[in-house]
Subunit: 594 residues, 2 copies
């Protein structure tokens, strides 16, 4: 009844081997010269086995059971503790960590695929290790030698889990309003932290023996606003160096009752003379966290993709099994006896939904992995200019992927739920949990509205911002390559070329209007982000069509790619023009206050 999660390994292989041709770039990187496609696939197969067998089966039960809070202690759902220990034991947290820090030194691309699987299988479970990479990167870059020696190895390996403590009741999107205080702890190399934090995922739990909190707080001489925030690392337990340890002043005061993610404890934390070390420079805490937040945003994008994929998988399976109503039409070669109910997968309204979900899932997978690939290039390319361009592009793509994928993930869950009819509303069919769990990703790690402002106001509009030009060059190059193929691919390429022109023109229009009316960019940011999202999916599908078309005789997989790509340009891409018309409205029309 509840479909079992299956990792989309075939499509992951397509994206990595054919769409990205990742391995041929890996060969240029000294550390990865021995990494070929086959090895990468073996890693993914092993990950898939772990996720399908150990993590996915805990999803529905964890939703029913939830977390328990009792006298400051949090108990996670049955099976989480054991499966997390296996996850650490198997070395999954250190997949893309540098070998010099004890990791396996594989590309982030593989990590992103693992994140997609975990999110699709069990989003609540994923929340626990969700900040390990970000915390590791942050402490590597900004931690003191002592922090790097005493804390970092256990954070990086996942032996200790981490949190990011930003939000306070009055300070959500607006971290500048944070009030938590830090004062020097006399006679030590550290500080005492006092303050209250809310919405702290994994602030307390029973998964690891220690929890390492990264906390934003103000030093006594701090200016107000974001420029007065300093970052501290505050372990739940302090080790005395002689094998003993003492409880730090870190207290969980309760967990939230939420719409979803019930297997993940969302904690209210009180820091009371909690001892911690400064990370990075005083008053520069936010800058230290940026590396963490950017990594987290691409992860959240993968949650949107993971949910959309799971929604598609569940709805697709159900639509094959469930027979209702006579068929208006049937697939070639299929017959349904007169008067018999047909699988609902044959009904046009259901096909519209299923095809749309598939087109979005597979297009997003290409774009999400492309973003990770640019992060790998930014980290490992021999040429500094290439690294810089790759970093700029990844930085542009990240907010688009975060907001666009998570909105689509929720929308996909709702559309998939509709395929189930009344059963969709019932817990045991699983899809309503997907809908509830997926909704949070539009809110956290910067709401989707914050992402849109980040994209347009910070990354596109400023003079000299070249990231959009880099992106549009890639898009136009793909459009040109498509001109050398058959009519379907040529038509897709021509449409893609038009989208690039429209995005360029629309950006110039916004810029011109914004110079006169500085509210303009804020009125249009969400729709502008969605325009880029749809253009990116068109880019994904144009390249997919170009690759798949000559392969169609080899495997049904490529025929389905061709059908799905054609469908994408025929139907869902209409949303691009819709979003463009809303951007135009926002450039022209006033927006009342009511």
């Amino acid at each position: 009844m509840t479909s079992t999660y299956r990792a989309p390994l075939r499509d992951m292989r397509f994206v990595m081997d054919e769409w990205l041709d990742a391995a041929s770039w890996w060969r240029e990187v000294p550390d990865w010269q021995d990494l070929d496609s086959q090895t990468a696939q073996q890693v993914l197969e092993e990950a898939a086995r772990f996720v399908e067998e150990r993590i996915a089966p805990l999803n529905a039960s964890a939703d029913l059971e939830g977390c328990r809070f009792d006298a400051g202690k949090v108990t996670t759902p049955a099976g989480f503790r054991e499966s997390y220990a296996e996850f650490v034991e198997a070395g999954w947290p250190t997949l893309s960590l540098d070998a010099e820090h004890g990791g396996q030194g594989l590309p982030q691309l593989l990590d992103v695929a693992l994140q997609e699987m975990l999110a699709g299988a069990n989003h609540a479970w994923l929340m626990s290790p969700g900040l390990t990479h970000g915390a590791t990167a942050c402490l590597q870059m900004h931690g003191s030698e002592r922090v790097k020696t005493e804390l970092l190895p256990k954070v990086a390996s996942g032996e200790w889990l981490s949190t990011m403590c930003l939000t306070e009741p009055q300070a959500g999107s607006d971290v500048g309003l944070i009030r938590s205080r830090a004062t020097e702890a006399p006679g030590t190399d550290g500080y005492f932290i006092d303050g209250s934090k809310i919405f702290i995922s994994g602030g307390a739990h029973d998964l690891t023996e220690n929890i390492v909190h990264l906390v934003l707080a103000r030093l006594p001489d701090a200016p107000s606003g974001t420029k007065g925030l300093s970052l501290f690392v505050v372990p739940e337990w302090l080790e005395d160096g002689d094998g003993g340890r003492s409880r730090n002043g870190v207290h969980c005061e309760g967990i939230e009752k939420k719409m979803g993610l019930k297997g993940s404890p969302t904690c209210t934390m009180r820091f009371e003379r909690a001892f911690g070390w400064l990370v990075g420079e005083p008053h520069r805490g936010l800058a230290c966290l940026f590396v963490m937040m950017n990594a987290a945003r691409l992860q959240v994008a993968m949650q949107g993709l993971g949910h959309a994929h799971t929604a598609w998988q569940r709805a697709h399976a159900y639509a094959q099994e469930r027979a209702q109503m006579r068929a208006v039409s049937v697939p070639p070669g299929v017959t349904v006896a007169a008067g018999q109910a047909a699988p609902i997968a044959f009904h046009p309204a259901m096909r519209r939904i299923l095809m749309e979900l598939r087109a979005i899932v597979e297009g997003e997978r290409a774009i999400g992995y492309w973003t990770a690939h640019w992060l790998d290039i930014a980290a490992h390319h021999a040429d500094a200019d290439e690294r810089d361009r790759a970093a700029q592009l990844a930085s542009l793509l990240t907010p688009v992927a975060k907001a666009f994928f998570t909105a689509n993930g929720f929308d996909a869950a709702s559309k998939a739920l509709q395929v189930f009819g009344g059963y969709g509303y019932i817990h045991e069919y699983g899809i309503e949990q997907t809908l509830r769990d997926s909704r949070v990703s539009m809110l956290y790690e910067g709401t989707n509205e914050i992402q849109a402002i980040d994209l347009l106001v910070r990354k596109v509009l400023p003079d000299g911002a070249g990231a959009l030009d880099i992106l549009l060059r890639h898009v136009r190059a793909e459009a040109r390559l498509c001109q050398e193929s058959d009519p379907l691919v040529r038509s897709a390429g021509a449409k893609l070329g038009q989208l690039a022109e429209i995005v360029g023109n629309t950006t110039r229009m916004i810029k011109a209007r914004h110079a006169q009316d500085p509210e303009t960019a804020y009125r249009v940011a969400d729709d502008y982000l969605a325009m880029l999202g749809w253009m990116l999916l068109a880019f994904a599908w144009a390249r997919t069509l170009r690759i798949a078309t000559p392969q169609c005789e080899a495997e049904a997989f490529y025929v389905e790619k061709r059908d799905t790509g054609r469908f994408f340009f025929d139907y869902p891409l209409a949303a691009f023009a819709y979003r463009r018309s809303l951007v135009e409205a926002g450039c022209e029309a006033a927006l009342p206050y009511v």
Copy 2:
């Protein structure tokens, strides 16, 4: 923290008095000659008081508590039993029931407003009396004399609650697959019913002493499919006529764990030699239920509106209170000190959401009440042709309202949740419950996809179907009236006139394509329905602008109407062209099976 429900009495008055000018038509109806606007408003004020004070406060607690099932008995959440008894005592179930049947004989229009309030305040609570009107109408029209004497009065008054037992595990949208059986009960005037039904709202509960089930089942000689279904009325308790009563063979076997509506028991029912009476002719059960289902569909539309209104009300209140980030712009006459956080209601992204919700809620209210008004005309007009035209129009509007309003209700809940940021995901802020509760209305009483097929395939495409022409005449007449006003209204009227032309042309295009490819209508039905929905909102706002404009000096209410109407034509109406482009795609492009 959780905003308190407030019924939108001012806007209800605007729609009834100015938009519909209902009272001047009431004066033409003999039964309603004494019904003036003031009396109607008094009824609504009293309803609002009851809903705000007695029903709304039970909403969040019922969601937390849920229903309990134990040994065949269902316990509803605290407060439901007492408040339902008061509801019956106050006569609310019989508001629009004819005086000759013991009712107050008021227009359905007032009933629909009551339903909007109940849905907005507490959807789960509304589920209990939700079928009273439909069951009453069905038994009045098709019940035997005995049924009318012994059961109908208690059903109509709400003393006994009713259910509609259609769905079986294999028969959801496809009622033709129903397997429940009925055989003559020897020596009586009734039948024995055997079978299993699922998803029966209120199949068992502790609210009333008896529950009257309307059950579809097959007589022994029944043909297969929908033409072999007969309707039976099956009380939970049978009275022996001497004051004694015995338990009928009706058993609740469990209740579902659902995404929302947790205060309403969704029951699995087993009928085992359950005694019941035939309603209507053998094998004509579905026809008897149509009257019930149509009434239910407009009610479900009101749920969509109620949720959208509540979502708007909650988000609007929160956005005034919550201050985050510096303002890009502020309302005229308002200042925010430099460096201070501004109410998020000032931020353009939030204004976009809040304005869109308002435009949808108020536009839908006009259209929903308009539909109810046509039902009143269909029931009470002196002229048979007028009654027929009104019935046709209401029958066309009902599936549009059901599908369009419920999809918008869910979408509004999600957009409103976004205004709350992370708090939106937390139960105590209430909006996540609105989102969960609102989702079911897209599924039941015919999924929204079934509504779209009903609209296009059954009501628009058949030769001689004149309902769309009637609608377009009303729309064009409004567009012409708008030409006599100021530039804003003239512009709205001109756009409205274009929409009517486009709908006419698009309908002809679909008809022509469908004649060649009989899958066409099924591919485009959902988007076609949405096109009509947006045209209807444009109709609502054009008329609103025409009425409000000369009144703007009288009251701020009208200035806000004008701002909201202008916004509607500037921004949300872009969705009409988007839906139209999808209809065109569906007329042109094949739809794969994947």
